[in-house]
């Protein structure tokens, strides 16, 4: 026998000639999955390349030093001793007041000496005005703010006690994303103007930055090592442009990995689509293989014709997917623009394309391996015996194919996630989802089988019976549409949970506005003002800032002997417990939203011995501490010896001034402190009016309008949702293609039955009703199964991730059920109608051809 690759290829092409449309339709189930993967990988590659090439531009310098208090003069001396160029900048939050329309908003004030950034630039509109910023009366305003307050060049704004003329809108700055500016947009002022604002006082939260320009990496390393060694116990942090680009790259890598998973799910759905549709096509080849075996080419070789077909069409699907994905990657930066720290330059990624091509071929083969094995062992006798239309596989072969599929899914997931554990968890999750959906579809078929009653109408009986008859597409449709529905529904449910997590529990009587950074002497004046605006002073809370010096009598150097870049040591102690500035309060009683879960609450200090304090449960974990442990704080140079008397669980969603550390009364009353006033505005108008008046009167006090924060967070989540929905659409679209393929396939399966029924007198209308009713049942069940699955997953997420109570709004889930059912029925209609409109003979001739 001729054992020639080219002959097999020729036969593969010859045999596929009449069915290329059908094969392409089936293969198209993987096109979208591949395109999603190629698009995401190309995009991530592009972003990483740009982050790499613009590493210095991302930081604006070669190195930056940051402290959450004013940098010590010695630090500057060290830098001067190396002769490097530096640029100082201070960042702090404040309210801005727009004078022309009395608009107010919490902003991030960034002061600069004009030298920063050393790399990249602050782009403005009108352009080229950044150098004029050194005049202490000018300000550059983030474009978000510029638009929000309808600002024009020359308009006046007030920050603290100082007024500034708006020079321009900032359209781009090093490392800035739309995401960051949505929370607290930047306003740039000159370093010299900071003092005039009067905002840098005791208790002010600020970050002092010193940007360094030094191209010699050896010098940079020396500086970094020196400063880190000298200030190990301080809150000073050093970051080089390499650290920054690495961190940003990793952050995008994480985002890319998540999006890749969503894309991979689309591909797996496509795999299931292939498994269901191509396998029916391949099964129809059993007779052909048997004929070839009779002619003289054994089945073990004849199956190569179909193996080559799968490879060829899988490759075609992968090429189409890769092309589409590469094209989509061009537009992804637009979709993701709010989250990008660099301008992304589009370039085709050969690695992404190769991965896409390989994935396409492997997926096609993996999901057809069972039927290919059947073809390879087709007995030639099948040509003589018409009843041989399927070849049972041995148990070991079934296990082999299942394990192979599992292995490759884990392998691909590992490539995408870069973690074996996560890859296994992901695969297990997908497997569980498919198992659940398959189980549900089996349940539906069993129920349908038992449900049918002889007394029911012919239409109803036939429609329900179609769900469980041989060659039904119920399982594949429920699995694919169900999984697609589950993904999208889970996305929306997660979004609801996220929003409920960040939204505050509030009633008509709860506070919704917090005034902070109030100096103690002005507390009465502020309170009076609040009352004069017909708003209640619901609470005044003192805040004392301090640092942790010793944890169980050991300092930071003990817990972190080396600066290795890790945020927690091997025992789980987080370094930020030493680095952060603790804002604590004192009172003699607990709030309603606080509960003691360990130890004993002591509200008053007896005046002797260590001070009994209460620690919030998560912060206790950050310190890896327990009740009774000793903590020493530093308040303006004075040490405070404390011990953990109690641990509190705090419901942070309640609008209270929630504190991680709570002191008893009788110790901090005379310490330097600021005050917070909590109040409530009854309407958005009252809130706006109050803020205008208040900021005019107390420019150095900041106002947090909780309703505005919720709105901002919702907007950010909306943007995230858009990105994820965009990716999930690939799964939905894949499900849609699979749906068409599966229904198309069921047409092949049902054609004879339909024609027979028509021949013996069933009207086209009746047959259409049977089919549409069947599709409606399938669509509705698939959607319900998907939603059930999503609800189970959401429930698990609510417990293990969000620690919140999951209450799905079932009424909102009715819409997807209706939409998906309609979609299935509409596609089913077009699928069936073409058969029904023609005469039985016409249909048989056409379909057989």
């Amino acid at each position: 026998m001729k054992n020639d690759f080219w002959w097999f290829l020729k036969m593969a092409l010859r045999d596929s000639r009449k069915q290329r449309g059908r094969l392409l339709l089936f293969i198209s189930s993987i096109v979208l999955g591949i395109s999603a993967i190629v698009a995401i990988n190309t995009f991530v590659d592009n972003v990483k390349n740009d982050i790499q090439s613009e590493a210095k531009g991302l930081l604006g310098a070669d190195m930056v030093l940051r402290d959450n208090q004013k940098l010590k003069p010695e630090v500057r001396k060290i830098l001067d001793s190396f002769g490097v160029e530096t640029s100082g900048s201070m960042h702090f939050n404040s309210m801005v007041r727009v004078l022309k329309n009395e608009g107010t908003r919490l902003v991030n004030v960034v002061s600069t000496d004009g030298k920063y950034p050393f790399y990249g630039k602050i782009e403005t509109e009108p352009s080229g005005v950044y150098s004029q910023l050194t005049d202490g009366h000018n300000a550059l305003v983030d474009n978000t703010l510029f638009i929000q307050f309808n600002l024009s060049v020359g308009d006046s704004i007030q920050i603290g006690a100082q007024r500034f003329a708006v020079l321009a809108a900032v359209t781009n700055a090093p490392g800035q994303t739309g995401f960051t500016s949505a929370i607290a947009p930047n306003i740039y002022i000159a370093n010299g103007a900071v003092e005039q604002t009067g905002l840098i006082r005791y208790g002010s939260r600020l970050n002092d930055y010193l940007y360094v320009k030094e191209t010699n990496t050896e010098t940079l390393t020396k500086i970094k090592d020196l400063i880190e060694a000298k200030y190990r116990n301080a809150s000073l942090r050093v970051q080089t442009f390499e650290n920054r680009s690495q961190q940003t790259g990793e952050a995008f890598g994480d985002a890319g990995r998540f999006l890749n998973l969503v894309a991979f799910i689309a591909l797996l759905l496509g795999g299931i689509g292939i498994a269901s549709t191509i396998n029916i096509y391949l099964k129809s080849k059993i007779k052909d293989v048997a004929i070839l075996a009779c002619i003289g080419i054994p089945s073990s070789k004849a199956f190569r014709i179909y193996l080559l077909q799968i490879i060829l069409f899988g490759f075609a699907g992968a090429v189409a997917g890769s092309l589409l994905g590469s094209a989509l990657a061009y537009y992804l930066p637009v979709v993701m623009s709010d989250f990008l720290p660099v301008e992304v330059h589009y370039a085709i990624s050969p690695a992404a394309i190769i991965f896409g091509l390989l994935t396409g071929i492997v997926t096609s083969l993996l999901f057809t391996i069972d039927t290919l094995m059947k073809l390879a062992q087709t007995p030639p006798l099948a040509a003589l015996r018409s009843y041989i239309d399927d070849i049972p596989l041995k148990r070991i072969q079934l296990w082999f194919s299942r394990l192979l599929i599992l292995f490759f899914i884990i392998l691909f997931a590992w490539y995408l996630l870069e973690s074996w554990f996560n890859a296994v968890v992901f695969t297990a999750g997908c497997g569980l989802a498919v198992l659940l959906l398959t189980g549900l579809s089996q349940l539906m078929k069993n129920v349908a089988r038992r449900l049918v009653r002889p007394g029911w109408s012919f239409t109803l009986r036939q429609a329900i019976a179609n769900l469980y008859r041989p060659n039904n597409q119920s399982t594949v449709l429920i699995s694919t549409i169900g999984l697609g529905t589950a993904l999208i529904t889970l996305l929306f449910l997660t979004q609801d949970m996220l929003l409920s997590k960040v939204s505050f529990k509030s009633s008509d009587k709860d506070p919704n506005m917090i005034l902070f950074d109030i100096q103690t002497p002005q507390l009465d004046e502020v309170s009076q003002f609040v009352k004069s605006q017909e708003m209640p002073v619901m609470a005044t809370v003192p805040i004392v800032t301090m640092r942790l010096e010793l944890l169980r009598d050991k300092n930071k150097a003990y817990y972190f002997p080396e600066e290795n870049g890790e945020s927690a040591n091997e025992n789980g102690v987080r370094d930020h417990v030493f680095n952060r500035e603790w804002r604590v309060s004192y009172r003699d009683s607990l709030n309603d939203n606080e509960e003691i879960i360990a130890g004993e609450w002591i509200g008053k200090y007896a005046g002797k011995g260590d001070i009994p304090i209460s620690v919030e449960e998560r912060n206790l974990e950050y310190m890896q501490a327990k009740v009774g442990d000793k903590l020493t704080f530093n308040v303006q140079g004075a040490p405070l010896n404390c011990y953990i008397a109690s641990v509190r669980k705090v419901d942070f969603r309640r609008i209270e001034t929630n504190f991680t550390l709570l002191f008893p009364t009788g110790i901090l009353e005379n310490a330097p402190q600021t005050q917070v006033v909590i109040t409530r505005a009854n309407s958005a108008e009252q809130s706006a009016h109050f803020q205008q008046q208040f900021i005019a009167r107390f420019p150095a006090v900041s106002v947090v309008d909780l309703n505005f924060i919720i709105k901002t967070v919702s907007e950010i989540i909306d943007k995230l949702k858009f990105v994820i929905t965009f990716m999930s659409l690939f799964s939905m679209a894949t499900g849609f293609i699979i749906l068409i393929g599966a229904l198309f396939n069921s047409r092949y399966q049902r054609i004879k039955e339909t024609v027979l029924l028509k021949t013996i007198g069933a009207s086209a209308k009746k047959l259409l009703r049977i089919n549409l009713f069947e599709y409606a049942l399938l669509g509705a069940f698939a959607a319900i199964a998907g939603i059930l699955l999503a609800s189970v997953a959401a429930y698990a997420l609510s417990i293990y991730t969000f620690s919140t109570v999951f209450v799905p709004a079932f009424s909102s889930l009715l819409l997807p059920i209706a939409a998906i059912t309609t979609l299935v029925v509409v596609i089913g209609y077009f699928n069936t109608n073409t058969i029904l409109k023609q005469t039985p003979l016409e249909v048989l001739r056409k379909e057989n051809a």
Binding site: R14, Q19, D288, I291, L292, I295, G296
Partner: protein, 223 residues
């Protein structure tokens, strides 16, 4: 004296039906000479198709031996039996069994290509011409009538000049007139090419046209 082209000795076939073993053929013995035409007849379930399958090496013997042109089938592997079919046998089936996605011409070309024939297309065209279907060469099986499909199947079966042609109810799906045409075609090609012809059939008229009839009943020969 020339050696028989087929030597069947104590041929038995047992199928497992659940836990029960069902003996379909009970130790059949017969020879077939080169160029002979043989009809295997018998009622449904008598074992005709099973015997044909065994003779062609499509299935394996439970007991006994079958030699095709001196080669013992039971000693050959699946691949070996396939190679033997390719070099020495042709097939005609009741339901034609043409490859549905190949044209009439391509169907005939398959065995020629497999045997590395130098001009498969020209040769296949000649065969098509011989069965009177040259003008239908580019038609797919579904575009041909039953009789036409069977003529293509016969052309394919004779394409690589087999020494034995196995036919399973070759006229079973055809009307009287077409059946006669197919029978004539089979016998004329058999004569021209000196091919041994084994025909499984219910049709006693067709059986009567052969040199010899092997009548099966309950898996035994009633010759």
């Amino acid at each position: 004296m020339q050696k028989p082209i087929i030597e069947a000795r104590a041929v038995s076939k047992v199928y497992q039906s659940g836990e029960k073993a069902v003996e379909i053929l009970h130790g059949l013995d017969f020879d077939v000479d080169k160029g002979q035409t043989v009809a295997i007849t018998g009622p449904s379930g008598s074992g005709k198709t099973t015997l044909l399958g065994l003779l062609a090496g499509l299935d394996t013997l439970t007991k006994g031996s079958i030699k095709i042109d001196s080669e013992a089938l039971e000693q050959l592997s699946e691949d070996g039996r396939a190679a033997l079919r390719l070099s020495k046998m042709g097939f005609v089936f009741q339901n034609f069994q043409l490859l549905p996605n190949l044209t009439a011409l391509e169907n005939i070309m398959v065995p020629l290509e497999l045997t590395c024939h130098s001009k498969p297309q020209e040769n296949a065209m000649q065969l098509l011409n011989r069965v009177g279907l040259a003008n239908r060469h580019s038609n797919y099986p579904t575009q041909l009538s039953g009789g036409e499909q069977q003529r293509v199947a016969i052309a394919r079966a004779f394409a690589h000049k087999p020494i034995i042609l196995m036919a399973d109810e070759p006229t079973g799906n055809l009307d009287g007139e077409t059946s006669e045409m197919i029978e004539n075609l089979l016998f004329s090609l058999n004569e021209q090419l000196n091919t041994t012809l084994i025909i499984v059939t219910h049709d006693l008229e067709l059986a009567a046209k052969t040199h010899r009839i092997i009548k099966l009943k309950n898996g035994r020969i009633e010759e």
